[in-house]
């Protein structure tokens, strides 16, 4: 058993920490050894990456909280501009240093200001001798901010000359971050995915108080058997476990089976879980609807999922416009004459043509076409005469806003705008009926 050992921290706290982060012991001990003792300078920047819900954020948070290390935790999605981000860091810094509660807002427009203010903030606090940790969650957002932000954060220790360590958390590898100009290479640490055994262990840990741990573990086992193929997201699995547990307990509550009767329980729950995989997991129906159905013991079949309502009612000419757009997008220009003219020439059957048409146009995706071609096809597929009224043109734009068509290219919109049809063949079939 890889016990967490570190001279700087009491053993009891470490043991508690170990209980809180199952299956991540090796990573935690690695981090601890990098952090060193409180007053020791640590590595300037650490980059932690791993797939969705592999416990990056959770491990960092519990580690810093249980060991009571001074830290700032910021989500880069939430603070979407560099200015917001820097200000948020400073505010949190003020909050954790002084318990006065008053947060004087400091305008901080660029990184230069930030370093100045940061020095002030650190100087004013009593924890000067401890390492301060700045954790930036979802660090991939940093790439979209100003170019100097990321390199500057990586060298924050050097720039401020203070005892600070920046921890970046991300789902993508460091190679995608590295800026062109040379920058400080952070220490990278990989959090591997949880294996099925890990998932089992973690999920079983939080069993409901009314039932025994073994009973719940058996349930988790069944759940993983159904869902492991499609979903390894711990959060999602936890959610699904909570949603379906009451159904699993039903036979026990009714007294038809005891807690040990796993086979019977399995028979009861398995089709139910499969149904859940097709509906709730894909968010076809919401979890609250799912719970209600469970409660009423009704058939989930009556609830129509979101995908069931695919039919879109369109005005008469909009339908034709859409069909014309589809034809224009997927038929090559040279076939227009053959398809839409009454007195077309003889169809030349050449080998070249046949060979070319083998690669289906549907695999190639829609091609852009000019407005004139769309209208020409429209006139030829509508039986009676269509006047080019303003209504027709406004319908085209409304189709664009409905995202059934999309406009290609933004320059020179006035003369010859080009469109693409973005709907699928099935949709067109439904419209054309």
């Amino acid at each position: 058993m890889p016990n967490l050992e570190h001279p700087a921290y009491p053993a009891a706290t470490l043991l508690h920490l170990e209980g809180l982060v199952p299956c991540r012991e090796s990573q935690v001990s690695m981090l601890l050894s990098i952090f060193g003792e409180r007053q020791q300078f640590s590595f300037p920047s650490i980059f932690i990456y791993g797939h969705t819900s592999s416990g990056k954020t959770y491990v960092m948070q519990t580690l810093l909280n249980t060991l009571q290390l001074p830290h700032v935790f910021v989500n880069c999605v939430e603070y979407f501009t560099s200015r917001l981000l820097l200000e948020e860091i400073l505010i949190q810094l003020q909050n954790c240093s002084s318990e006065k509660g008053q947060t004087s807002r400091v305008p901080c427009d660029n990184f230069n200001d930030f370093i100045r203010l940061f020095k002030q903030a650190v100087a004013s606090r009593e924890l000067q001798d401890q390492t301060l940790y700045i954790v930036l969650d979802r660090a991939e957002q940093l790439r979209e901010m100003e170019t100097n932000i990321l390199p500057a954060f990586l060298r924050l220790q050097e720039l401020t000359d203070r005892n600070v360590t920046v921890v970046l958390l991300s789902e993508i590898v460091w190679e995608l971050f590295r800026p062109n100009t040379g920058c400080f290479e952070p220490f990278t640490l990989y959090f591997p995915d949880y294996s099925i055994g890990h998932l089992q262990k973690i999920l079983s840990q939080n069993h409901p108080p009314e039932y025994s741990a073994d009973f719940y573990a058996a349930y988790i086992n069944i759940l993983l058997g159904v869902f492991y193929m499609v979903c390894r997201d711990l959060k999602e699995l936890q959610h699904l476990a909570a949603l379906n547990f009451s159904k699993y307990c039903e036979p026990v509550v009714r007294g038809e089976a005891n807690e040990r009767d796993t086979r019977k329980l399995w028979k009861n729950i398995e089709p139910h879980l499969k149904k859940a995989m097709q509906t709730v997991y894909l968010r076809e129906i919401s979890s609250s609807q799912w719970e209600r159905v469970q409660h009423d013991d009704g058939e989930p079949g009556q609830l129509k999922g979101l995908s069931a309502h695919t039919h879109v009612e369109l005005p008469y000419y909009s339908k034709f416009l859409l069909i014309a757009a589809y034809l224009a997008s997927y038929n090559p220009v040279r076939t227009d004459k053959r398809f839409f003219l009454k007195h077309h020439g003889k169809i030349r059957k050449t080998n070249f043509m046949k060979k070319h048409e083998k690669t289906s146009n549907h695999l190639l995706g829609p091609k852009p076409f000019p407005l004139d071609r769309l209208l020409a096809i429209l006139y030829s597929i509508v039986d009676n005469r269509v006047a080019p009224t303003a209504n027709i043109f406004s319908q085209i734009t409304s189709l664009v806003t409905l995202q059934l068509l999309s406009m290609v290219g933004h320059n020179d919109q006035l003369d010859g705008p080009r469109y693409k049809c973005t709907v699928s063949l099935d949709f067109i079939r439904a419209v054309a009926r």
């Binding site: 969705t52 979890s287 995908s307 303003a390 209504n391 319908q395 995202q403 010859g416």
Partner: protein, 686 residues
Amino acid sequence: FGEGNNASEDTELRFATCQSLWSQIKLETEQIQENLNKQLFDNLISFLRQSHSEFQEKTTEWTYQMKSREIPTAALVLGVNVTDHDLTFRSLSEILQNNFTPYIALLEAKDCPGIKNLMQKLMRQLMNCYVDVDSLEDEDYVQVSQNRIRCSMTSIINWYESVTKKTDSETPSKKRTSSSRHCQSPPVVVIFKDMESFTTKVLQDFIVISSQHIHELPLVLIFGIATSPMIIHSLLPHSVSSLLCIELFQSLSCKEHLSTIIDKLLLTTQFPFKLGEKVLQVLINIFLYHDFSVQNFIKGFQLCIVEHFYSQPLSVLCCQLADAKKRVNSLSHEQCENVRRLPSFRRYVESQVSEKQIALLTEDNFLKEVIQKLLEDLHFYNENYVSVLRCLHVFTSSLPKYPLGKQIRELHCACLEHEVWETEEYESSLQLVRMLNKSDLVTILQQCVEILGSSSGNEFDKTVEKLKEFLTQFQKLEAEAFQERDVSVSSQKELQKKTDLYHLQKTLLELKESRRSKKLTKFEMLRFEVVDYIDSLVRNYLVPADHKTLHEIMYFNTASVLRGHLNAAPRIALHTALNNPYCYLKNQALKSDGGSMSNKAPDICIVYKLHLECGRLINLVDWLEAFSTVVMAVEGPNADAASSDQVDDTIHARFIRAVSELELLGFIKPSKQKTDHVARLTWGGC
């Protein structure tokens, strides 16, 4: 409004009538819309309440802790008629504001190109609505919030906490009033008006951010969706959509909406104003072919009203019957002349005896009396028309393949257009009615009795009685049929006894024959009677409106005007303007006979006509030559010396100006293929 007409045509009165009529109709439509949306809104509010109750409880249950918190989301499928959505959302937010929560933000895609703009917009709306609810006494607070540039979720949360705390600490009386309408900590509702137009990134970011703070801020999202709910999945990846708890709400389809509007506005006797067949057809066509927008339909209807009252001097009589009678008495001489000029009135006069004709054409007072009588006729005609139309609709809507249309509006159009009993469709539908089985026929008749009974006119008493008589006869028949069945059952029993094949055959044949003959005699006779009676009703009451005298007063039938206003054709208009400037400029000098080009026309017209003769690429030098010859055509003899080899500078300048105007209008553009050539952007005549 009154311009062009002289004062004697009661312009002011007409204007007032028009205004009052429109306000009545507007009120009615709003009422209808409210009722139609009521169901949807009720569902939505109950959903919001429920999602909100979970926030309140803060249970420590195990399942509650384990479940990841999802943002409750309502997906509101509204159909493709985007123009109507605005109204729906407005009334929705009003309803929510009144009895659910004061914190509502309406977001539109065009305001939110980035997450930053979205947050700004959201904050502004939320904090403003805070001001709306409370009095303006804490203005300084608002000042602070407006100065704050930081728009992040934390500041929204801080604001929310301060607001809810404030309501807690308020005086008890005030608290009671507020909590009676709003719950303790009302959720924040964010409405995305047009989900389709939002960029994926903005939505994703917003959802991710708000899902992290769902514990502190009870947030509810409403997505307005125009196409299908599939768009949620195509816009949001699974990792984001798994943060939402989506429930679907579907609004009434716009076609049904239109049917109710037509039913309530046109097929009633409440409003004296009526639409003629062609006009109605134009409006319905625009609806079905182009936009599906009920709002536009109502706007078109309004246009009809205004146009009718503007162009028809006699529309002053287009009001309730009692008022109209009074107004007839005060008609001026000119107005009487207007009446005499009406084609339908002339037809009426011609059908009278000669003395009466003279009286009608010369004596105003006699004329007024007749007008009163005729108006009364017209009024009763309208009343009866609607009821009988509904009866006929009950019959035809149950037939297979709907020869006379499925919707009552189609039937209405058919009846207005011509004498419906002359048409083939009517004939075939009568044939079908003659083949209806008994139970259907009885239910239809019962419905007819109800419709006719509920109509106000007492003319239908007899009809109702007649129909009831039919019904009783049918019942009697049924009783007889029971007996018959007994007989047949007994005969079948006999049949079972018999074992001889020959006898069996014989009795079977007998049975068959007897059954056929019996039915012909009783039930079918009655059925024929019913059909004939209905036919006579139709012939009596469903006469097209333009056969009625004085129908011009109430029926608006100039569809061409309406079409010109509503169905704009910009290309054609531009072409006629450039090709035939007389059409718009009304300058006598420009009146030409089409083919030739006069040099008096504006330069741009000449340039346009010349360019029509060219191919795809136009040589500018040749064009200029042609232009100068046209312009110089008149001055030719005395100026030929000057124009021998060099084009005049002013003409050159005029030409360049005209060409650049054409470029501005989008007919040509400079081409890169050849120097001094321009490319044509239009093909054909227009």
